[in-house]
Subunit: 181 residues, 2 copies
């Protein structure tokens, strides 16, 4: 069965600061036209930063759209055209104060495949030199450090339910099981 | 440190079919105003449906916003005000043809905390009676069945990178490890 859908027309209905929104017509499998709403986002990175004692830095912050405080791995948006590793190295210092070293690329994740272009590139790194945190003016976060087992328990209990944090924890556990004895 | 942000004003910049988009002013930790873009989405469900041989139904479909074919667990949007278990029971028949039984609620997942209200409720069920697939007019999918180990390998290799599929696989493995011997 034909799965691919062809763009027939595109209309920008919103051009914003972080996102743009398009309303497209697409030709679908049976030749008819369907409406497709698309949120355009530049994409970002998530970084699991592990200290010498096997604890991971966690960022706790208010998520306005969700109207609640959430605990997540450090993350950030890519600047336009930026290489994701560059974003990861910048964001990890900004949010935790620590440089990362020995970066491992864990893969990518699509948070919202149904209507959003966003892709998050996932990294795993060890703590390097302390340089000092520098947050955006409108940003306020609390930092903590948890072991992978503590993070896993919080995911299972529902206390952590951020998609990238769930996916990254899974990938790090698989990475450790396959690459470390 | 004060984390909560207070809504000061809201302006709808797009009212669409699946999403609405708001541009808000929010009072942040230091009392200043910040811009907050919010995509409003009704939320949805993901369902991991396991057959008698321990294989899970996977949906392969073209994801227009991502411009690629992706493999995911069955999922669907909630109707307005709908109880998520009702959505899950409806969607699983529509997409796979099979009723689900013995539904287990695995928890919720926030795919895009930075700018989107969407929450996905995650379920794990066993295959029940075959009723026949009935897809939306503009929907075209391929179905397959994979074991949890096969799904895990595809996540590690990057062939599967849908956030809910990653998160649900993690939760099902934890659920099985903690509840089944």
């Amino acid at each position: 069965m034909k799965l691919k859908e062809e763009q027939v027309s595109a209309e920008y209905v919103y051009n914003g600061k972080i996102i743009n929104v398009r309303r497209d017509k697409a030709k679908v499998y049976n030749g008819t036209l369907a409406d497709r709403e698309v949120v355009e986002h530049p994409g970002g990175v998530g970084i699991a930063l592990e200290d010498e004692e096997g604890r991971f830095f966690m960022v706790t912050q208010y998520r306005y759209a969700q109207e609640k405080i959430m605990m997540e791995y450090p993350a950030g948006k890519k600047e336009k055209g930026e290489d994701p590793l560059t974003t990861a190295k910048r964001e990890i210092v900004e949010e935790t104060g620590y440089e990362g070293r020995d970066f491992v690329y864990l893969g990518s994740m699509v948070p919202t495949p149904a209507y959003d272009t966003e892709v998050i590139e996932l990294f795993y790194a060890k703590t390097g030199e302390f340089k000092g945190q520098h947050l955006d003016d409108d940003e306020s976060i609390n930092l903590s450090r948890l072991t992978l087992d503590e993070i896993t328990d919080k995911i299972v209990s529902g206390e952590i339910n951020d998609a990238k944090t769930m996916g990254m924890t899974f990938l790090i556990k698989e990475y450790k099981a396959r690459n470390e004895k």
